[in-house]
Every structure is written in C-alpha cells, then in structure tokens.
Symmetry: C2
Subunit: 213 residues, 2 copies
C-alpha cells in the first residue's frame, strides 16, 4: 500500500496511526501542501478532491477521506481491531471520530485558517476566539462522551478509531494554542498514547517530509 | 427504536433516509432547535453533545452522530444494504458521505450561519461568498467523485449511504441559494431520489414537527 500525505496533515496522521496500530506495511509519498502539490495535475488525476490523505490499496484502487480509509482498513485487515466488538461501543467510537472530523478539524485546518486570515482579516485575537468557539467547543463535547465511555482510552481500555482521530486533533490544538483546560480527560489520553510505539511512529515529526524549524 | 431529531436538521434527515431505505420501524421525537430544546437538561442528560440526531436503539442505548448511527444501522440491520459489496465501492460511498459531513455541512448549518451573522456581522453578500467557497467547493469535489463512481446514484446504480448524505445537503443548498450550476450530476441524482417513496417519507416537510411558512 502507498499512503499519499503530508506530515502535518491531521487527516493523514489519523490514517498513519490506524496503519501503525494494525502493524501494516506501507510506503509513504509526501504531497507538500504548502507548495500546493495537492492541486498539481498529476495528483488531481489520482484524487480529484485534491486533498490528502489518499491511500493506494494493494489492488491499486485509490481511496480518499480518512474516515472512509480507516473503515476500509478495518474491514480489509481486521486484526488488530480498531472498533470494539460490542455494537453500542462501536457506535460510540465512531461518534467520537465523527465529532472530531465534522465539528473540530474543519474549523482548524490549514486552508480554513488561511481563509480567515487573508479573506476575513482575522487578527490573533479573532483567531483565538474562533478556535475556542469551534474546535474548542467540539472537543468539550468529545470530553463528555469520553467521560461516559472511556476507561483509559476514548472508548474502553484499548485504542480505537476514536483515538486515531483524537491524537492528531490534540497535536493541532496544542500547536495553535486551543485552550485544553476544559478537556482534562482528552489531555490524559493524549499523554498515554504519546508513550506507545505505534503512536510515536505515526507522529508528524517522525515523517520523512517533516520540517524542523 | 426512537429517533430524536428536528425536521430541518440535515443530519437527522440523513438518518431518516437510511431508516426508510431499510424499511425500519421507528418512532420520532422532535427536538425543537429553534427553541433550544437540544440544550435542555433532560436532553443533555440523554445526549451530552446537545445535538440531533440521537437514536435510542431497541436495546435502549443512545447513539449520536449521523455517520456513527448509519454505520450502526448497516451492521445491525444489513438488509436493505446501504453499502456496496465491493471493498473499493464501499470506500467511495463512505468518502462521499464524509466529504459532505466534514467539508460541506459544518459550514452551512444553523449554528454556523447564526454565528457568522451575529458575531462576524456577515451580510447577504458575505454569506453568499462563504457558502459558495465552503459548502459549494466541497460539493464540486463530490461531483468529481460521482463522475468517477456514479451510475444513476452517487456510487453505482442503487442508493447508498452517499445518497443518504447527498439529498439533505442538496435540500439545504437549494434553501440557502448555493450555486448548483457546477454540480449537474448531483442535481440529477437529487431529482431521481425525490421521486422515490423512502426519500419522500424522509423529507423534512413530511415530518410531524414541520412548520409551513
């Protein structure tokens, strides 16, 4: 398999965590979002959405969107499972992943922040208020789910797809200064995951295209 | 099963379509978003995220987030299937659903539009530009996937989970005046689905809490 991604892309990071937790072999092809390589004709021909991640499967199909890619990996490579066996717990893990993917990350990603600064003239204070209201608010609602369903990780006592989504979101939240004082459970899960080898291998700063500043 | 929802909520509408396509029996309990009932103590006790839809299962569990609810329904009630049998086609259907859920709808929903008008002083022209750039841009990228994978419906020649997400998005896009001239395939699928009974039964205006103005 080949994963097209960018070291700091939150959605690429989710897929890397899932693949590392499952112990899957894959090659990694960087697509430099800062240079706009996702909009090059060659990449658009592969993925008309012009976004990373994209996964080329063993059979040669190109899959897009991290939610869809991770569901594919779970069906195609069921061991190590990233969804619990219990039907309600599966739904809770997916609900946490969906909250992060639909309510937190879209308001924090590179192209949105660029738009807010360049088109709406957001200054630092306006950006802080935006990040607190949207990604911050969504993370508080994830905290409430984790309070109900977590036991060390987001759902239960093993990493699930929910943790694959949480950890990249926490990485971005820390990078952009989102207030995490109201999400202590998420902070604690983030610290627990940071100590585990699959999460370390998937970390942005351990990717070949990482740029240290 | 009991579905907590609101007639015009796009995410509730997705779940209604999925349940109608599967022919499932369910009761419907309206939660009036305009009156803020989703933030009442009684509802927050059920669903700490304070959002609709929420599904109470036959076993009495409360599930949240439309993506997670529809995956649950697909696993628990596999007939009528809303995901294709083929692994790549399943991923494409989920990718379209995810694009709508993560890149289109979050920028168009009630609470975001309220925020843009009240907090950022958006006028009609600013709102139109925003809707064209964000939901509009996402729908163009869905159009590109449908061009590759559709054959009458979003993926192949039968309704899938992708159509469960598309139709509510089109309903909202028409309501808010998003330009659809660049997404002719989506327009055509929307017209095809509108003629089918399960989609008719799921339509916002056919719900008990619909308000005709």
């Amino acid at each position: 398999m080949k994963l097209f991604g960018y070291w700091r892309s939150s959605a690429t990071y989710r897929v890397r965590i899932a693949m590392e937790l499952k112990g899957l072999e894959f090659s990694y092809e960087p697509v430099n979002l800062l240079k706009g390589e996702q909009r090059s004709p060659a990449f658009l021909n592969r993925n008309p959405q012009g976004l990373v991640p994209a996964l080329e499967t063993e059979e040669g199909f190109l899959l897009t969107q991290s939610i869809a890619i991770i569901e594919y990996l779970e069906e195609r490579y069921p061991e190590v499972a990233l969804l619990p066996a219990d039907a309600a717990a599966r739904a809770h893990a997916r609900a946490i992943a969906a909250t992060i993917a639909c309510e937190a990350q879209p308001f924090m990603n590179l192209r949105m922040q660029k738009y807010l600064k360049e088109e709406l003239d957001f200054d630092d204070a306006a950006m802080k208020a935006w990040l607190g209201r949207w990604p911050g608010g969504a993370m508080e609602s994830v905290e409430a789910l984790v309070e109900r369903y977590g036991a060390g990780f987001c759902v239960g006592d093993k990493p699930t797809t929910a943790d694959c989504f949480l950890i990249p979101q926490m990485y971005g939240a820390l990078r952009f200064g989102v207030d995490l004082s109201r999400t202590p459970r998420l902070k604690s899960i983030h610290e627990r995951c940071a100590a585990l080898d699959p999460f370390k291998r998937a970390h942005p700063e351990n990717q070949p295209d990482a740029v240290r500043t």
